[in-house]
Every structure is written in C-alpha cells, then in structure tokens.
C-alpha cells in the first residue's frame, strides 16, 4: 500500500470517507450521545484520543505481529487504550464521565477504531497512522458535534449548554441561548431526532458533493461521454 499524502488523509478522514456520514461506523455512540453539542464533542474527543493511541501503537508493532493473531492483538491494544482513556476522563473530567457514562468504555466496540487499525495503521508508518487516527477521529467529532448542536438547538433552543463539564467554570460563558423563551421541541432530543438529524446530515453532504461534482464536470471534462452514452449532458 503506497503512502497517501497528508492532504489525502485529512480529506478522507474529515470528509470523503467520514466515519459518521460515509462509512456509517460507530452509529450507536453517535446516535446516543449526540443529544447536545457538548456531549457529542466530549465523546468525539475521547474517540480522537483512542484513535491516536491505537493507530500509533498498532503501526509501531506491525512488524512483530503475525497475521494469524493480529486481530486479537489489535483488540487487546484497543481495549487497554480505551480503559486508560476512560480512567483519565474519570479522574480529570468527572462530570463529563458522568454524562457519557457507558459510552466511553463502548468506544472499544466502535468499528472505526478496529477498522482503521486493520485497514490503515497496520500498513503505514507510525507518523502517518497517527495522522490518520487524528483525521478520522476529528471527522467523527465534527459529525457528533454538528448533530448534537442541531438537536440541542431545535430541542432546547440552546447551544453548548453545560460546557462547564468539559472546560471548567469558564465554560459556562460558552452557552448560547439562541432562542429565548423557547418551549422546546421534544422530537429532536428523543432517539428519532438522532436518526432524522443524521439522515439530514448525510443528505446534506451528498448534496454538497453532487454540487461540487457538477461544477467540476461542467467546466472541463466532457470528453468521457463517448463511453457512457447514458451520461450525456442534457441541454
């Protein structure tokens, strides 16, 4: 496997192969913890940390692990990284730990962690693998925070409420009461809101991609049409 460029890694992790919007991995925590922007951001950051640790470690040990036992070894590495991260969060950000609860240990079962280990980190240099972990994690965080923000805004009329659980007392200033005297919209906070919200985000991404493709195609590349007559541009 050739080494992809930094640009490719970033654009894949954040957009083209985004865990939440394209690969659709890790939906369980994505849907469950995205009830507010801060909750989503917290779990996203925990995932970034785990992906950084596991991708780097797995890349560093790739020569020593036989392919027969590689999956168990990856699982051991991932499980211990997650446990360590969970203990750290419990010690340093107890309130965030309380809110996210079971979803921090459940990062172990987030397929994107094992997926990046197997598909990428086990074949690349540690520095590249670490960057991939960072990009993938940040892509996941982006979706989590956006979906969380969307649901919080529609459901409660606020943004970044309870920011103090991540940033200390100074975080309270971050809270935006976007809509004053808002009665709330229950659907957005309940699980169906997560599914609908995620669906809208995926649709939005596809729309943007389609627009970009159209714009890219409209200018130069028309010569490919002879091998695909059905794709002839209609006037």
């Amino acid at each position: 496997m050739s080494t992809p460029s930094v640009r490719e890694i970033l654009s894949n992790g954040l957009w083209h192969n985004n865990t939440g919007l394209v690969a659709l991995l890790g939906l369980c925590p994505l849907l469950a913890t995205s009830s507010s922007a801060i909750n989503g951001f917290g779990l996203g950051m925990a995932t970034v940390l785990v992906l950084l640790l596991t991708n780097t470690t797995i890349s560093a040990i790739r020569q020593y692990v036989q392919s027969e036992v590689r999956i168990p070894v990856y699982i051991v590495v991932i499980a211990s990284a997650v446990t360590a991260v969970e203990l750290l969060i419990h010690a340093l950000l107890p309130e965030l730990h309380k809110v996210l609860g079971i979803f921090i240990p459940l990062i172990v079962t987030n397929c994107c962690v094992l997926g990046r280990a197997e598909a990428f980190a086990s074949k690349q240099r540690p520095a590249i693998a670490a960057l991939d972990g960072l990009a993938t994690g940040l892509g996941f965080t982006l979706v989590l925070t956006t979906l969380g923000g969307l649901r919080e805004l529609i459901g409660h009329g606020t943004l970044f409420a309870n920011a103090n659980i991540m940033f200390g007392e100074a975080g309270r200033a971050l809270t935006l009461h976007v809509l004053e005297d808002y009665r709330g919209f229950l659907l957005a906070i309940l699980p169906p809101g997560a599914f609908i919200g995620l669906g809208l985000l995926i649709a939005g991404k596809n729309l943007l991609d389609a627009r970009a493709r159209q714009r890219g195609a409209a200018v130069p590349v028309v010569q490919a049409t002879h091998c695909a007559p059905s794709a002839l541009p209609t006037p």
Binding site: S80, G155, L186
Partner: protein
C-alpha cells in the same frame, strides 16, 4: 505437524506478550488515577449534600459520619448510605439516597435531606431515564418542581394530600407525565415515614466503618 506446533507456540507467545504489556499499562493508569477519581467522587457527593444542607448549618463531616442500612424504605435491595449532619453534637439533618423504583423509564435515584424536626431540607434527582422534555422536569436543571418539597413534612400537607394533584394531592404533575412525579412523591413520602419511626435510632447509631 511440528511446524504447526511451533507456529502456534510463537503466536501464543506474541499474544501473551501483548496481553502482559496491556495489563501493565492499564494497571499503571489505574494506579495513577485512583486517588483522583476517589477524590472527585467524594467532592461531587459533598457538593450535592451542600446544596441541600449548607455547610454553615453543621460542624461535623457528614461524609464521614455515615450509616449503612438496608430497608425497604430506601427503595432498593442494596445497602443505602445515610449521612448525618450535626452541630455541636446535636442532630441537624439526615441525607441519603433513595430510589423511586416505579419511574416511567426505570428507577429514579433521589437524594433526600430531612431536618431533625422531620421537615424536608430538600430533594434532588441524582439519576433518571425519564422522557426528555416530559418526565425530566423533576431535574432541577429543567424545572423547579422538585423544590416544592422544601420544608414539607408528614403533616404538611396532611397524609391524604401526599399525592400528585391528579390523585387528589397537592403536588403538581406535568402535562403528559404523571407517572414520574407520582413515583417521586411516593418514594419521598415513604422515606419520611421511615425517618419519623426511626429518627432517634438513626442519629444515635454508631457510625458504620
């Protein structure tokens, strides 16, 4: 055959090696964070206790003056912890966590504080899974409903009125959610009765180590 066995042995060694290193990493992290976690948990508890019984009202350490009890009044099968606040040795208030097992979506954990005269110093919800936007109004972050318990006692309101309004009592229910407040009112009332019947013993009992 021999080749296979050797291969298996090597794979086993690699797995064992990684397992060992991982255990070391986790153990080291656990060791490094244990103290902070315990401290954070105690701090969180003390802060919650303080919201109901302000520190100015007592001069002992309620988190150290505890009783471990098992009684149906606590609403759970496991042992409940009772924290006792005193001033100059005199009883000030009891604080404990009780469980309203019949919430709409599973058990609701409540922190109750009862003054030594039988009046409620306050009630707070510690954890619940009630419907967001409906039942979660029992949470002080969502509405001040729970503060209507402040100062109440078994005589105020009278016995028959310790219910939600829909059942002929004095406590409001929420639009679309009666089960949740009903469960909370019932659990608080049950603990108040227990406290009245055992008050002297609860303050006098030797603290559990």
């Amino acid at each position: 055959m021999r080749e296979i066995l050797r291969q298996m042995g090597r794979s086993g060694m690699i797995l064992a090696g990684f397992a060992m290193v991982s255990v070391l990493v986790v153990a080291a992290t656990y060791h490094g964070t244990r103290e902070r976690i315990t401290r954070a948990q105690q701090q969180a508890l003390a802060m919650q206790l303080d919201t109901l019984v302000p520190p100015a009202r007592y001069d002992n350490q309620p988190t150290a003056d505890t009783l471990q009890l098992r009684d149906a009044a606590f609403g759970s099968d496991s042992e409940g912890t009772v924290y006792r606040a005193r001033k100059a040795g005199q009883p000030v208030a009891l604080l404990t966590t009780i469980v309203a097992a019949d919430g709409y979506a599973g058990p609701i954990q409540l922190l109750v504080a009862v003054n030594a005269d039988g009046r409620l110093a306050g009630v707070r919800v510690l954890s619940h899974k009630e419907t967001p936007g409906l039942g979660d109004a029992i949470d002080i972050e969502r509405s001040n409903w729970i503060s209507h318990f402040d100062g109440r006692s078994l005589d105020d309101p009278a016995e028959a009125q310790w219910k939600v309004k829909k059942d002929g009592g004095v406590f409001d229910q929420f639009t679309g959610a009666t089960i949740t407040p009903r469960a909370v009112v019932k659990a608080v009332h049950r603990f108040l009765e227990y406290e009245r019947d055992h008050r002297a013993a609860l303050y006098a009992a030797e603290k559990t180590r």
